[in-house]
């Protein structure tokens, strides 16, 4: 087997060596594995059994439907049953199993792709959509096939499996947290994609935007993932492999060195205290918050509580989670951001996918249009505020009237708790996310009406530069060092200073140790980032003198081209 390299965008550092584990696109759980010839008959039987089970299920559903006499539904069930029993549908995957000696799931998926492609060519929109019936039947069978836990664990080869996928959606991300992958490779994505966030949270290397990794890499092939350089080496030679084993060790040693500064207070050389806070998604992340010595939670993204489920979490459930986090941080700050989801994050079927979800009904807009959903969350947060130092953060504000409306709803939630004699922190601090350019430009107005400001650089960059961060054709234009971005950040920091309000950054920029000195120079004192980034940022803080950095950043803010800015930052870091 010949060795070759492919290049992508590294979104999480580190080095991993392991076997490729391919995951198909549409039905993400489906993986490919080779069978021995003698395993073929039992695999075909397994598929037949699964099909039979689905058939029984459908018949059962049909019976129940008859009672409710819902004709429309029963017609769908009939169609599904007919698809299932159609030889055109059920026989081919069995042939694929024996021809390709592959697993049933893969054969079924391959067969489905064939039909879907055919349906795609149909001009009639209504009939074209019938492909969904085929997909739904396939999904049903797959669920039965994958229902046997031994199947998936059989594939998981310890912790040296490297996931190779088309893309990782937020819903998949939660599932993959449980598996122990050594690295993630995806065809799609950029540095702010969910793959990136997930990989960093697991502290494993990850390279995205590989375009066609799934086409080039075969299942079980040996690969090296160099997350420090964005290179994937497939079928490495012995020498390369040895070289990388050495590099992997060195990287581990470097990481250990960093862990030594964990308990050192985060102070600059001129004795200024710098807050290094953590971004978290689920209470499970608390371990890594502590492991990395964060001085608080700067961003608790609550939307993950709302994902991968049919019903929204109720007040009690949310309250318990917020309370757990607040209590475990004791007297340290916990900033809870209210639901910041749009169509791309909620998995429930009732969300209509808009063409441009980033600009659609999401975050505070969604909450204001669904006051009941919002009220449940506000009450849960307020109740938990009695158990720690909780602050509320409002995402995606775009006008003062939205802010005032939100504050009114918070007051109402407080009042209802008061009437019920339920305790809460009356002086809970309310902050706003600065991520819409309109708000950054008017940061002074918002600073006057808020207790703190938090700059969400990922969205701020996306909105300011008009770049869809999920579109890899334009993702190279995503540039944190664009002079306009630095200007907006500067306006916000200045506004906070003027009105004596805390300003933090909770986007990717806060965790990029190359930018730490620049931001310190600009006057930023609160950094909130993924826990795994804290130590390398702290290393920079410990070596900084804010007074000496000030002239550098003043100079950088006057520069017109981001290339020159980059060069100066490089010099500043030396």
């Amino acid at each position: 087997m010949s060795s070759f390299n492919i290049h992508g965008v590294s979104v999480s550092n580190g080095i991993a060596i392991g076997k490729a584990h391919l995951i198909s696109n549409a039905l993400l759980e489906v993986i490919h594995y080779q069978l021995d010839k003698n395993e073929v008959p039992s695999e075909i039987k397994r598929l037949s059994r699964a099909m039979n089970e689905v058939k029984k299920d459908l018949l059962k559903i049909k019976k129940q439907l008859k009672k409710d006499s819902s004709d429309e539904f029963s017609a769908f069930i009939d169609t599904h049953l007919m698809i299932l029993t159609d030889k055109n549908f059920s026989e081919k995957p069995k042939k694929i199993i024996s021809k390709d000696t592959c697993n049933a799931e893969w054969a079924l998926k391959k067969h489905m792709d064939f039909f879907v492609r055919k349906f795609e060519q149909i001009e009639d929109e209504y009939i074209k959509e019938r492909k969904n019936d085929v997909i739904q039947v396939v999904e049903r069978i797959l669920k039965v096939l994958l229902g046997h836990p031994s199947q998936s664990s059989q594939i998981n080869k310890g912790n040296s499996a490297i996931l190779v996928a088309h893309d990782i959606s937020p819903a998949d991300a939660l599932q993959f947290k449980k598996h122990q992958y050594a690295a993630f490779l995806t065809d799609m994505g950029g540095s702010t994609s969910h793959t990136a966030i997930l990989a960093r949270s697991l502290n494993i290397p990850s390279i995205v935007a590989l375009q066609n990794a799934r086409g080039l890499i075969k299942n079980n092939e040996q690969i090296i993932v160099d997350g420090n350089q964005g290179i994937v080496i497939i079928n490495p030679s012995e020498e390369i492999l040895k070289e990388y084993q050495v590099r992997q060790n060195l990287w581990g040693i470097e990481q250990k060195k960093l862990s030594k500064i964990k308990n050192i207070q985060s102070k600059t050389l001129n004795n200024e205290k710098i807050e290094l806070l953590a971004n978290i998604e689920v209470p499970d992340d608390m371990q890594s918050v502590k492991d990395n010595g964060a001085t608080g939670i700067g961003l608790f993204r609550t939307e993950f509580l709302f994902m991968n489920r049919k019903e929204l979490p109720n007040e009690e459930e949310q309250f318990k989670i917020y309370k757990t986090v607040a209590k475990s941080m004791k007297d340290k700050t916990v900033v809870i951001r209210t639901l910041d989801s749009g169509a791309d994050k909620l998995t429930s079927a009732d969300t209509t996918i808009s063409a441009n979800p980033a600009l659609g009904l999401r975050a505070i807009r969604l909450c204001l249009s669904e006051p009941q959903l919002f009220n449940i969350q506000l009450r849960a947060i307020l109740r938990a505020s009695k158990f720690g130092k909780i602050k509320i953060l409002i995402p995606m504000l775009s006008s003062l009237s939205e802010l005032r409306q939100t504050k009114l709803l918070i007051e109402r939630a407080k009042k209802s708790l008061h009437n019920q004699k339920i305790l809460y922190n009356k002086n809970i601090k309310i902050g706003g996310m600065i991520e819409v350019p309109a708000v950054a430009i008017n940061a002074e107005l918002f600073a006057q009406e808020l207790d703190f400001l938090s700059i969400g650089t990922n969205d701020l960059i996306q909105y300011t530069l008009a770049i869809d961060r999920t579109d890899d054709r334009v993702s190279h234009l995503y540039n944190p060092l664009h002079p306009a971005i630095l200007k907006l950040i500067n306006i916000t920091i200045k506004a906070g200073k003027k009105y004596n309000k805390e300003v933090s950054i909770c986007g990717e920029m806060a965790g990029d140790s190359k930018l730490t000195k620049l931001l310190l120079g600009m006057g930023l004192r609160h950094f909130s980032m993924h826990p795994s980034r804290i130590l390398s940022v702290k290393k920079q803080v410990l070596n900084s003198n804010t007074q000496k950095l000030l002239p550098w950043s003043t100079k950088i803010l006057k520069i017109k081209e981001s290339e020159t800015i980059e060069t100066l930052i490089h010099k500043m870091n030396q």
Partner: protein, 89 residues
Amino acid sequence: MIKKKMKIINKLGLHARASSKLTQLACSFTSEIFLIKDKNKVNAKSIMEVLMLAASKNTIILVMADGIDEKEAISDIENLFINYFGEGE
């Protein structure tokens, strides 16, 4: 063997529900039944094939039946076509 041209007049064409009705009906005969549209010839007893035919409203289909009950098959299928596949429009 009998062949007869039939026109699809229901609004949604041979979508899932109409297709399943047609397939169910076809399966009730012992004759072999085929649908021909342009150059495509599909087995009327296979829902997948009927769906793939992608026949929308106003499409002319040549229905072919071959077997002992071919007469009944053609006339029942024609009735289904004429009755908008039982959909009323």
